[in-house]
């Protein structure tokens, strides 16, 4: 390194620096790649950890009661009898009510926004519907307790039962207390509406103009163009949105807990109180004293986890399928 020429030393230093920095870059790249790969792996790891922790804790119950855990309707922590059927039934029924009420509304509002609304109205109405998704569950519950329940108790439930004579169907019978499967279903409908609407709107806006124009050019009325050309094109995407909404409805906790009445019984009437898996967890988890009770609740959580995993998986797959198809067509 002790060269007589000063410049040579400088060049040698520069060379050193260059190799050093290239070496450093390689290490830096490796660290960076390692770090982001690790963060990305956190997602599947988190899912695995959730499944593992809850599955292991619920295993004693699942093992002891087997398939009967899903079909038995005895839920008696004192006797150590655990059957999740009422909660599973309530989860499914309240979600079905929600979808039956929310789907036509959501498709209607998205069709209105994509086909009818003047441009200046699109953004504000879309924004208002999206805003529904920003309201916390507990606020829906609060509103439900103090606004929705009184309205249901007085004019709505007696009207359905006595004036429309819907009690003959068996769905709208019994005393109208307020807290009921119907109340939970209605609040869930309002809550999942923005999810279904936003997916439907996106899918409908992705339908090519030519599709509508072709139908109109063939002499179709505006509704016929929507029904015959636009909706079929967007169908699978809308179905994906509905299933996404279903996933939301199945796991929704606070608002349902506050409105469903929390009684572990299976009743045909929608006026009767019920239970959902999520509300069962919210109510009993912090009060579970025995290990068996805790394990049973963990098993319920595991069942809920698996169901929502499947439902969300299907929904995402459907929505992806559509977005891949439409992007393939426009490209």
């Amino acid at each position: 390194m002790t060269l007589p020429d000063g410049r040579a030393v400088v060049e040698a230093r520069e060379g050193d620096g260059a190799t050093l920095s290239i070496h450093g870059a390689a290490i830096g790249d490796r660290v960076y790649t390692g770090a982001i790969t690790f963060f990305a792996l956190c997602v599947p790891l988190l899912l695995l950890a959730i499944a593992w922790e809850i599955g292991v804790a619920g295993w004693p119950t699942l093992h002891k009661f087997g398939f009967g855990f899903l079909t038995s309707s005895d839920w008696d922590p004192v006797k150590g009898e655990f059957g999740a059927a009422p909660a599973i039934y309530g989860t499914i029924v309240s979600s079905i009510i929600a979808l039956v009420l929310a789907t036509p509304l959501a498709i209607g509002v998205s069709l209105f926004l994509s086909e009818l609304a003047p441009r200046w109205l699109r953004q504000p109405v879309g924004f208002l519907v999206d805003l529904l998704a920003a309201i916390p569950s507990v606020v829906y519950g609060l509103w439900g307790i103090f606004v929705l329940l009184p309205v249901l108790r007085d004019p709505v439930m007696p009207f359905l039962r006595d004036t429309l004579h819907l009690d003959k169907t068996g769905l709208f019978t019994g005393p109208a207390y307020g807290p009921s499967m119907l109340a939970a279903g209605i609040i869930l409908a309002i809550m999942v509406l923005p999810y279904i609407a936003s997916v439907s709107r996106e899918v409908l806006l992705a339908v090519p103009r030519s599709q509508r124009e072709a139908a109109l050019a063939l002499g179709a009325t505006r509704w016929e163009a929507i029904w015959g050309a636009v909706l079929p094109y967007a169908r699978s995407g809308i179905v994906g949105g509905v299933i996404l909404g279903l996933g939301r409805a199945l796991g929704e906790t606070m608002a349902v807990t506050m409105l469903i009445g929390n009684r572990p019984e299976i009743a045909a009437s929608l006026f009767a109180p019920g239970y959902t898996m999520a509300s069962l967890l919210a109510n009993e988890f912090s009060e579970a004293s025995s290990d068996a009770h805790l394990s049973a609740l963990m098993a319920v959580a595991f069942v809920l986890f698996v169901i929502t995993l499947i439902v969300n998986g299907i929904a995402r797959w459907l929505v992806w399928q559509v977005s891949r198809n439409t992007s393939g067509r426009t490209a």
Binding site: G24, A25, A26, G28, D29, T33, I36, T37, F39, A40, V43, P44, L46, L47, A49, I50, E53, I54, A106, G108, V109, L111, F112, L113, L116, L128, V129, A134, I135, P136, S137, V138, V139, G141, L142, W143, I145, F146, A197, T221, W223, E224, W227, G251, T253, M254, A278, A282, F285, S286, L297, L304, F305, T308, L309, V311, N312, G313, A315, R316
Partner: protein, 308 residues
């Protein structure tokens, strides 16, 4: 034009069936138009009906919430049943602490995962992670709460703010990851190539060029995620648990606005009910402020984008 038909082709006369069909379409045109008009009216009705609940909820929140809102609400502690007044100062601070904790957990992991998704776009692992983060996003929040309980509360033996923050942070990860991916994805490839051509290493290109360009969008995504978890109650039920007293310790149970709204709403006391409405209003206001800031962050991004 009519005489210009080539001699080889058969005369272009509609068949009987075609004529019948076209006559029918013309004859039924009036009815079809009426049906169309009715259905379009139904669509408008659906739009009105979809917006109505929102208007009602906000109306009630404003009328019932504002009347029970006072300065005490923000500065005083909750009072026991029977005593009038009191506020939710501890719950407001608790919610802010929980948001901070959740961001500390969720943001680094979410942004990192999002960078991975954007940089390894076609890779099998990236596709899998993208799918799983969408699935994780749809997981019921109460399941996340139970997981955090089993993971962080049960071994320690007591509820803690930390467990609540981790539960909320875990919920943020998939949301932040997906928005980060989207925002990094719209950074022009030329920018990345320019940095690499200038001799930047890959990691510096990613962090100080690409991530910085996308930063406004990522901030927006992060704020949207924070707005979503700020109102979550279910994951806090068995983790942060709630606390009637002033506490800022991460190892102790902590109060949170949504938890207080819940316990006040299901209580039998009128005074607590009005506190619940006030709490809900403050919670919504908090969420809206966060969302508005998020909107402005997006605006700023588009403004600078236009200037470039």
């Amino acid at each position: 034009m009519t005489t210009a038909t080539p001699p080889m082709s058969p005369p272009l006369r509609p068949t009987l069936r075609q004529r019948a069909f076209s006559e029918r379409t013309v004859r039924t045109l009036k009815r079809r138009r009426i049906v169309s008009g009715l259905m379009l009216a139904v669509l408008i009705g659906a739009a009105v009906l979809a917006v109505l609940p929102l208007i009602f909820i906000f109306g009630h929140l404003l009328t019932l919430g504002v009347s029970s809102l006072s300065w005490d609400f923000f500065t005083k502690m909750p009072k026991p049943v029977g005593e009038t007044g009191g506020g939710l100062a501890n719950a407001i601070v608790g919610t802010l602490i929980l948001i901070g904790l959740a961001s500390a957990v969720g943001l680094p992991v979410g942004v990192g995962a999002g960078l991975y998704l954007a940089e390894r776009k076609g890779a099998k692992l990236a596709n899998g992670v993208r799918f799983l983060s969408d699935v994780l996003n749809g997981l019921p929040s109460i399941v996340m709460g139970i997981f955090a309980w089993q993971f962080l509360v049960r071994p320690v033996g007591h509820f803690s703010a930390l467990a609540g923050g981790v539960a909320l942070g875990a919920m943020m990860i998939p949301m932040v990851a997906r928005t980060t991916e989207e925002m990094v994805g719209i950074v022009p490839v030329s920018l990345r190539e320019a940095a690499l051509a200038l001799g930047y290493s890959r990691w510096r290109t990613s962090l100080s060029v690409v991530l910085r360009t996308a930063s406004a969008g990522i901030v927006t995504g992060a704020l949207v995620a924070i707005a979503r978890i700020a109102g979550e109650t279910a994951p806090l039920l068995f983790t942060a648990f709630g606390n009637q007293f002033w506490s800022t310790s991460l190892k102790q149970p902590i109060s949170a606005l949504p938890l207080q709204v819940f316990s006040y709403a299901i209580s039998p006391y009128d005074a607590w009910h009005s506190l619940a409405w006030a709490g809900a209003l403050v919670l919504i206001a908090l969420i809206f402020i966060i969302s508005l800031v998020a909107r402005f962050a997006t605006r700023a991004r588009f403004a600078t984008g236009g200037g470039d």
